[in-house]
Symmetry: C2
Subunit: 288 residues, 2 copies
Amino acid sequence: MQTIGYIGIGIMGKPMVKNLLKAGYSVNVYARRQASIEDLCEDSCAVYDTPKALAQASDVIISCVADTADVEQVLTGAEGVIHAIKPESIVIDMSTISPEATRAMALQFSQAGAHMLDAPVSGGEVGAIDGSLSIMVGGAETDFQRVLPILECLGKNIVHVGDHGAGQVAKACNQILVAQTMNAVAEAFLLAQRSNVDAAKVREALLGGFAYSKILEVHGQRMLEGNYQPGFKAHLHAKDLRIATQSAEVTQCSLPGADLVTQYMNTLVEQGDGELDSAAIAKLIGSG
Amino acid sequence: MQTIGYIGIGIMGKPMVKNLLKAGYSVNVYARRQASIEDLCEDSCAVYDTPKALAQASDVIISCVADTADVEQVLTGAEGVIHAIKPESIVIDMSTISPEATRAMALQFSQAGAHMLDAPVSGGEVGAIDGSLSIMVGGAETDFQRVLPILECLGKNIVHVGDHGAGQVAKACNQILVAQTMNAVAEAFLLAQRSNVDAAKVREALLGGFAYSKILEVHGQRMLEGNYQPGFKAHLHAKDLRIATQSAEVTQCSLPGADLVTQYMNTLVEQGDGELDSAAIAKLIGSG
């Protein structure tokens, strides 16, 4: 069985590593913060000092870190994976980052005789724990098939969307759709409240029809309760929306709805609410 | 069993009458256009010349017409229901109209010794045929309970949202939520297409996660196929959005997302696409 090198032991990474261990894989880990990996050491993960050292000891590398700069640092930076990756090895980047930067790194790995897939996820901490994440994959079909058994330990709805960057594009689409739906739910609740109508009853009525969305069900309930424990943090959603709007700029498409919610999410973060669940957008709209 | 008087034999009204007949109710009908009721006559519906005459011969009145002015005409106009309604009778208005106008008419019926409920629906022609409509009801609880057996012949998810107008407020919330979700789906597909990524694959990947909505599933597919056979016509959706934005003005709430899609829907109608399904908003966004 392949040895997997995992980079980025955070809220998502830790349960993902546990699922890989449960499936029988040997897992090497690297994390910038030593504290975050202590209990994984008890799970017999080998710990490495640099991504490069990790790569030397692993067959498949998974990275799941915060943003584009972090991915570039651990994959192609001075002590990065690329400097020691084994021939024909596959790097699976499960972070949510820029599609353009993803394509550039995929080219670098290809030139180094290895392969890269972008495989960002949706489903949050709960999905990472349950192994029920949605995984959106970009890259070569043969590479996708080679690592599919690994991805199946981590997620349920696993789709090979297209070539390098396509997974990140799908994730950007996911994030603008989720944010706009949250905004729409928050606006609907505001209209109900200002009309002296119980927003909880409106939610109940709307769940049964065409207005049904996972967001109305899950995040709508959070808004009604004013419970913004993450879930998915507003400052990360703001970061993802910036990726989407930057891609829109690069590809010259106009997305006024996405622009609006990007501004809202940035405002939420500026107001000091970046650590709350991004459903806290309802606080800005006035209904949460 | 009560005799029901039905006003407004259109795309929605005809299958709804058939479901009432199937359940064993006697149904009287009134329609402005004689042609629309011809096959219902064969189903042994009694036909009346005016809403007033219909009211005289019926225990419960249901109206399902196009807009606020139409409802006012048939219910409280010169030849309207109110001039002959039996004491303690109930009028159920299933049209989608202004919450404010609804409250005014409910007061008039109360002064005339009768009762009114607003009970707009979601679910379209298919829901009307299947008897699976969502029904959002405003008015007194006792009146709601009295007509619930009738509503149960027409719909599945039947919620008593609140007092007079609350059903219409819920419907307005429904329509701004549906329209904004359509816009968000159309924007996501545009970003995918401009990034040279297959939007159908993106939809497939997103259906399994938090971005899931009935709109992504049903209307997203319509956008991918460019199939805008209604469904629910854009000019009616534009009308419903105007009701919502007018209510927002009356109740002084700011709904920028709803405003944006209202403008889109109006533009779609002005361009001559008012008879298409409202998912044709994707044509405006550039992805459909």
